[in-house]
Symmetry: C2
Subunit: 591 residues, 2 copies
């Protein structure tokens, strides 16, 4: 490096006119105007225009040969531009180059390094290091850094200490699937990569560290969705001698600070809270998007004496009939659109959608009104505030939860279709979760959150007799309909922990084998404690309005869990496997 950079490209403004500067970066483009050559030079801060004049033949000659993505350093005086560019921050100036050094030439990249690239994502992932040069992607990574720094500052200021928890841990299969790591020193044994540092942060509280914080990678070997990655990042917290309110308040302070520092937006706290039962009843979701209304209308009582068999059978079976009213959206749903929605909802466990619509001329049609009494029709319309121009969607199912979840999903879907007007930000705590939920596939109780969440004291008595009635000291943070954090008070009593694990089907022996160290720890003085984990990738994605989680991760994996740039995973040599004492199954499928 014989050129010493004085400034970043994006930071040179008119107050620097007359100064000599040295910049380094990549050629964004070169324009040859005959006696004058312009080069846009780019670094992570932005772009600045370099000007090369024929009167300085050495650099003019060099500039002539520059191509996109060449890496150069340039020295020269900052001058006022004759034709200013108001579209970029440095558009008032240019650098008249006196010395140029080409550090690295570049082949023509496989796609152009510009904002809003229309190159396919697969190609861009293969050349991720080029894609990351595009400012719409690099700015996400720069903001990610800023958010991580804000988190560390905020929690440090509040007395949290970073404690690094191990990555090679014991496999305790519950919840998602573990990634395993074969041990060479103990052939036939395995480590697992952590799905979260849950037990270690609880042990840190039992050790007396009082407030713990870590921004940490976690691993889940699951089939991926658009917003999941096999490795993902959590802002992980734990506090001792606190209740739920203390934890929520601490997290609110952080979210408020994020919005203030990143977007200069003031968010009010405390955030709105709603208990789980209300969420389900009103929005059919435990992570409702409250940026818009369209609350669920409950019609079950109203129809309790109906003679229409479709509804009456369901109601007799303790099922529900629910509706949503898409105000003024009648025109947006043709009969064909409604049929399509009806097909769509099957995946949510109900057979079809019923509807009533009425255009502004009061021409109305309905799939069910003809089967109901005039009184019932009137009551439904009144209860739903149904007016000309509206369309009412009804969902009914004998299983209460299925019905609510289906109408909840429909609410979100309809809002999307009609492009409903949404407020900008909806932050919400959902509280009073059930401790367990029933897993139909395995016919067992599973933990709604995880097995270490404390039951509410007053519900302890139901643990063995009516476990589904037991509520948890748990609270999820919802941002615009997405769960961005899950928190709870943890069990700190040995006996309660044993009873909860018992409800989850662990025998005494299994409990001892898998969680013996935690149960031991609880017998040597465990403080009341609790905490929360924020999904950092998802938080950034939602804050920045990205559509895919890959847009906020520097080197992401695709949905098969592979990484396209380095082509991993890959085959390894036999020596490596022999040392580990493992063999491949004959039928291995290398895809």
């Amino acid at each position: 490096m014989d050129f010493k950079r004085t400034d970043y490209c994006g930071n040179i403004f008119s107050k620097k006119i007359g100064e000599k500067v040295t910049v380094c970066g990549w050629v964004q483009k070169q324009r040859d105007l005959g006696k004058l050559i312009f080069v846009d030079l780019r670094d992570r801060t932005g772009v600045v225009q370099l000007a090369f004049y024929e009167k300085n033949p050495k650099v003019f000659e060099q500039a002539f040969r520059l191509r996109a993505e060449f890496v150069v350093a340039a020295s020269g005086f900052v001058c006022e531009r004759s034709s200013k560019n108001p579209n970029i921050p440095t558009g008032d100036i240019e650098i008249e180059v006196e010395q140029l050094r080409v550090y690295s030439k570049a082949q023509t990249p496989p796609f152009e390094i510009v904002e809003n690239s229309n190159a396919g994502e697969e190609l861009r992932l293969k050349f991720r290091y080029l894609d990351l040069r595009r400012s719409d992607l690099s700015k996400n990574i720069l903001i990610r850094h800023k958010m991580a720094k804000l988190a560390r500052d905020y929690f440090n200021d509040n007395g949290f200490i970073e404690i690094e928890t191990p990555f090679l841990i014991k496999s305790t299969p519950e919840g998602a699937r573990d990634y395993l790591v074969p041990s060479r020193a103990f052939r036939g044994k395995f480590f697992a990569l952590p799905q979260s540092p849950q037990l270690y942060k609880q042990l840190a509280m039992i050790a007396g560290f009082d407030r713990y914080m870590q921004i940490v990678k976690c691993f889940r070997d699951e089939d991926l969705r658009a917003d999941r990655q096999p490795e993902f990042t959590q802002i992980d917290l734990e506090m001792s001698f606190v209740n739920s309110k203390d934890i929520m308040s601490m997290v609110e302070g952080f979210i408020v600070k994020l919005y203030k520092n990143i977007f200069n937006k003031d968010i009010a706290k405390p955030f709105f809270q709603m208990n789980y039962d209300d969420c389900m009843k009103k929005f059919g979701s435990d992570k409702p998007d409250l940026r818009f209304g369209m609350e669920i209308i409950h019609l079950t009582k109203l129809l309790k004496n109906t003679e229409f068999r479709v509804f009456s059978d369901i109601i007799k079976n303790k099922g529900l009939v629910c509706a949503i009213n898409a105000k003024g959206a009648c025109d947006k749903f043709s009969r064909k659109d409604i049929d399509k929605l009806s097909g769509w909802i099957v995946a949510h466990g109900v057979r079809a959608i019923s509807f009533t619509k009425s255009d502004k001329n009061k021409n109305s049609s309905s799939s069910y009104e003809k089967f109901l009494s005039t009184e019932e029709v009137k009551n439904i319309r009144e209860t739903s505030s149904f007016e000309p121009g509206d369309i009412l969607f009804l969902v009914a199912h004998k299983n209460e939860l299925t019905c609510l979840e289906a109408i909840g999903a429909l609410r979100v879907k309809v809002a999307q279709i009609i492009d409903i007007k949404k407020s900008e930000i909806s932050l919400l705590w959902v509280t009073n979760f059930p401790l367990f939920e029933y897993d139909k596939n395995q016919s067992t109780l599973i933990a709604k959150h995880h097995p270490f969440v404390a039951p509410k004291d007053e519900d302890l008595k139901f643990l063995e007799t009516n476990p589904e009635k037991v509520r948890a000291e748990a609270f999820d943070l919802i941002l615009n309909g997405n769960e961005i954090g899950g928190g709870s008070i943890r069990i700190c009593d040995f006996n309660v922990q044993k009873r909860v694990l018992g409800c989850l089907g662990f025998s005494d022996e299994e409990t001892k084998e898998r969680f013996g160290f935690l149960l031991d720890a609880m017998q040597f003085g465990a403080p009341p404690h609790g905490g929360l984990a924020l999904g950092f990738d998802r938080l950034i994605m939602i804050l920045l309005g990205c559509e895919n989680i890959r847009e906020v991760i520097a080197f992401p994996k695709i949905s098969t869990s592979s990484e396209l740039m380095t082509s991993s995973p890959s085959v390894v040599c036999d020596d490596q496997l022999n040392e580990l004492g493992i063999k491949l199954d004959k039928l291995e499928n290398t895809n």
Copy 2:
């Protein structure tokens, strides 16, 4: 939590006298004086004395039942102590307790929670959460947090951004052994855990991020030494458009800040530099401890015409004869001690140590002087500044490097034996390393640092003809004789990278298969770049004067790579292995 903590135990001083406070923590000890009970309450900040008087029978009764490690909250007024304890910061006051809440009882712990515990380390590791309550251990973790925060602040202030690099990466076996992670989606293929984020941070530079920083876990499946862990933490840096000096200066600023903030010590910069050849010649080590002198004395030239066969054979074979003079330490080495040292040095590849000693009465003895000429003896004594009271150790070997490394090791050993006076801190950059070293076991060249270190421009011409002559743009940071950081300028030229990989024995095909993505990247505009990684665990260990790296890691592993608290690694169920398409070798040894 019905008690709201107002203060940490260790922060209540006499200016709080008369105030009502609430503290939470663990009972350190309880002393029953009949009408008065004292309880020392501990949290992460320290200890405070609680006083319980008979006149308040409810809390007095509660206090009577308290035992070590019970978890409680206590409220009461801060009072001046009648008998002050100058040994603890809160020794002037006590809290006269009005309300007490016992959150958690505790069994008698398997060892006492006190400083300088004499319990065995194995027991303490099994109950790590109890061991971490001891202040001599917890203070290390608290300082570790402080150091991590300082690092993040310092590098952020200097324009570095944190970029998270992936943990599930491609296995590129070179250097140490990879930990492997079987892929379920691609049966028969594997991820590896990173030995360092080396290639990703270089790609981040090629992507234009300019300055990268991460405090990151790395993994090496090696047989462990006292200061190694299978997972360890690096402060990992990379910068673009810089030379070695820029990187060293940036790191010096950080180390200076650490010493200032942690120990309030001023360290001068720039740090001392020494090139590799001089280090080897003067101290027989590429990480010399310069807190003391005892430089190597070179006797080869002096003895070039000696008739003593032991030396002359070696010198004829281009070997060396070297000495160190342990000034005034003659009395510390009996003949038996010297024999022991001679036995010890065999592991360093030389057969024995020769010596000359002379006590203060000039009674002298020597193992070799009788074989030399009077002139030679005189010259050796003069060159070595040998005086009465000194002892001179000689080492000779036909291989130059073996001789230097042996005498270098002897220098450290002797300094330890005689408890030589050392200055407090020695910080040193070692520069001008060879790019390669010859691996006798495999009869190949291996990279002295790693395969991506740039050769010095002027030595490029030797790459194919005399690769061992090629020096690297590499620099190690040495603290008190320990390597705490390794840095270098990286190769950013496609052809140079290919040539270096060629020297290391990679065929074109292997190069493409393993490093193709990096070589591709270098062809699309790679900036000059370089960086450094600090071994964070080791840095903390040395700064805090700990003897074992486990003392600065919250949840460490032992030398077999297992973790005693959770008993990991462990066996996993067949279903897990079946899903991954792997089988255990029949002869697996589960130790």
